[in-house]
Amino acid sequence: MEAPALCDQVVIVMKKRWSIAASVSSLLALASVLAFGQGLDFSGHTGLPAGIDISGSWYPLPFQDSGLITASGALAEYGGIPLNEAGRLYALAWNPSRIQGRQHQCMGYVPPYTYNQPGNLRFWEERDPYTQRLVALKQYWQISEGTRTIWMDDRPHPPAYAQHTWSGFATGRYEGNQLTVYTTHLKRGWIRANGIPQSDGATLVEHFIRHGDRITYLSVVNDPVYLEEPFSRTYTLGRSIKEPDTWQYACDDGEQILGRTEDQVESYFWGRHPFLHEFADKNKIPFLGTLGGPVTMYAELLDKVSDQKAAEAAATAELKPSAGPIQVSRVADPTPHDGEIHVLPVQGNIFMLAGDGGNVAVQVGDQGAIVVNSGAGGIPDNIVAAIKKLTDKPIQFIVNTGFQPDYTGGNAKLRAAGFDPSVEGSFFSGQFADAGKGATIIGHQNVENHLMALKTAPEGWPSDTFVQARRRKFHNGEAVEIFHVPNAVTDADSVVHFRRSDVIVTGDILNLVNYPHIDVKNGGSIQGELEALNFLLDRTVYQHDEENGTMIIPGRGRLCDEWELAEYRDMLVIIRDRVQDLIRSGATLDQVQAARVTADYDTRFGATAGAWTTPMFVEAVYTTLKNPPNGIKR
């Protein structure tokens, strides 16, 4: 627009004697447009006005990766994905029958997977009603009825011990002509639903670039667990002309294969995948290319597959774990390591206290607190201080889920910080001088037995022990159940279920940092551990698509829900089955160790140093499969 045109507009405005306000605002608006619009060339626009506002309804354009939009890819179709060894082995072990497992039928989808799926998605802005400042971009996607929030107000990302979700925790900002989004706290999901995993340690950077009625979407997944290098990919989204009227995508799980036991998780042991070459053969693709890895993303692959014999040999070598070395976890350590206790609200009356020992759970209410586990011995004062901030009532009960120092180390101090008003002044106080003077410590009889054997201070021993499978209480308005789960990581394990709040505290049964610390000498076993995990899965309910509902505070690691529990169970079943398979073929422990049966999980859970290493875990599995304790047998 040239300057004279502005004068024409001005003349028109004066002649018509519009209202003063309208005239002034129109002129200023015109001036702004003129000033801003210098050099604009709208000749290329064929669709909606250009801009970077992505509000509205969109759908994935079906031209690119068309076969993957509806079918999720063939088995062993990994070309172009920079898988590392663990990622490739995870995918090679994946049996599609696994999605018929109860907890897998309704799993949600993580971004960027969601943007290459059929179905509509809608963006809208959420603004502060008073300041009109942009607070968040919201998104709803049809494929799993998922809602995503992209915070635009510069808020910080949560700590590593916070819950992960399908859509993760996302923050965004406008950069030039792009919306850039950074996402953390994702659940373990799919890069491609043919077994190619995206770990819960992945972070994601996305760029939305709008060109008229189209969005070009670039995603870059950084996954230290399963990828050798960042996985970048583009998609295109088209704008829906009208608001789509098909949004619902309900999913409830059910029995799909009758008779499948709870500890049956289908997988292929490496080298025995029956459909390994199907995709390559059908499409006349060099087999090496279909196995993925960084080389398959670049032109160098053309050179590599030109020597067919060498390419075939390289492909064969990738079908099983390499000789090593053993890999270690590459995810962010959720332990704060700052000597402090960090309080995380869970739901209902329950809080999680994260510190440098095992996790602590606290239920608060008028009747006084129940504390599940007491943390390592070094920082109980901080735990007491944290609980005092949550409630002015005393700690009435302490429940120990095990005897390990990380869960009982603070017993004595926490006990001293509380008292049991239901005992004080009662018949019992007449019999025992200290009755009600401190919090009551509840634990399975074996907890006390072990603490006594370890000669710990008697003040930290359970004062209220049980031997039955289920101990129950009603406290602070909700049922509290304590279940003994025999021969899991030890012979003294319990889990605690706060029923109205619907929070389960697992103790060391669920350890999201390492493989489970199966203490064979103290009665632990792989089969007991699996039975304990399946027992928990029988009690959990998801709210929507394997997310929320029953919340779980693990012994170590971040707050989670049923999905992480199911994934942990699946992993242990798969590893158990591999070890069992090798035992049946006569393998020694050394041979099982050399087979690296955990190679697809080591970059997430593995350790080669510290109190609990991967070889120690494999040995525990091997030992307790050969010699199950107390008649526990598969």
Partner: protein, 244 residues
């Protein structure tokens, strides 16, 4: 009173206009007006449409391309040996396909009004003309007109937008290695955007639309991307071939 207010408004408007509202006076050359720098070496990251781009799809594999009956007929007649005999090995290296091929790009300013894109794979060169100059009509890379398209989004102080390229008069070629055709009347519209990553990486994102009333029932829309390279290491000129 009314006149005084209106005159004041005019003065205010003209003042804003005179001050530019967007900083300094408009640059005179396309090079100086660049919204971002896309020069340098870039490597194609072939992660999307991998089975159509990194390997030669089997004959008749047309997934994702809405060919009309004439287009399907041509694709069904694909004969790479025949292309070799006729010296047409570069059919899948034309402008409508070049940015989807694996390989590397070297982008430079040939002059103040012309961006040059060289591809090592197929040894092709595209010239993107911002000015009145033209070149390439009837050749594999056709004739490309470029402009910096400003987005009227109003966010930020600097003008933002994309490099838009419209290419016409291409020699008929293949959208994909297996003979998916486009005709000489096809129009290729591309946006070339630079994306900077927090880790220091940068990507060149190419969004393209091929409109071809001769062979396509609807436009073929796709995107591809390249990662910035520090130098020319890995640059490997390869001749055109009819299949990988």
């Amino acid at each position: 009173m009314v006149r005084r207010l209106v005159v004041s408004a005019i003065l205010a408007a003209l003042t804003i206009y005179a001050q530019g509202g967007r900083g300094p006076a408009p640059p005179r050359t396309a090079k100086a007006a660049a919204l971002y720098d896309i020069t340098g070496y870039w490597v194609a990251v072939v992660t999307e449409d991998w089975r159509y781009r990194m390997v030669t799809p089997v004959k008749g594999e047309l997934g994702g391309v809405a060919l009309n009956p004439a287009g399907r007929k041509i694709a069904g007649e694909w004969d790479p040996a025949k292309d070799e005999q006729s010296g047409d090995q570069c059919r899948s290296y034309g402008a409508a396909a070049l940015m989807n091929n694996p390989g590397r790009l070297h982008i430079t300013w040939q002059d103040d009004e012309t961006l040059k894109i060289e591809a090592d794979n197929g040894q092709q060169t595209r010239l993107l003309h911002f000015g009145a100059a033209t070149s390439g009509a009837g050749e594999w890379q056709g004739s490309s007109k470029a402009l910096w398209e400003i987005v009227p989004a109003g966010r930020g102080d600097k003008p933002v937008g994309s490099l838009k390229v419209v290419t016409t008069q291409m020699r008929p070629g293949y959208l994909r290695k297996n003979g998916v055709p486009y005709s000489g009347t096809a129009v290729l519209t591309e946006y070339l955007d630079r994306v900077n990553e927090p880790d220091g990486n940068a990507y060149l994102v190419v969004t393209s639309t091929v409109e071809d009333p001769v062979y396509l029932a609807q436009p073929f829309q796709s995107a591809s991307h390249f990662r910035k390279q520090p130098d020319g290491a890995g640059w490997k000129p390869r001749p055109c071939v009819t299949r990988w």
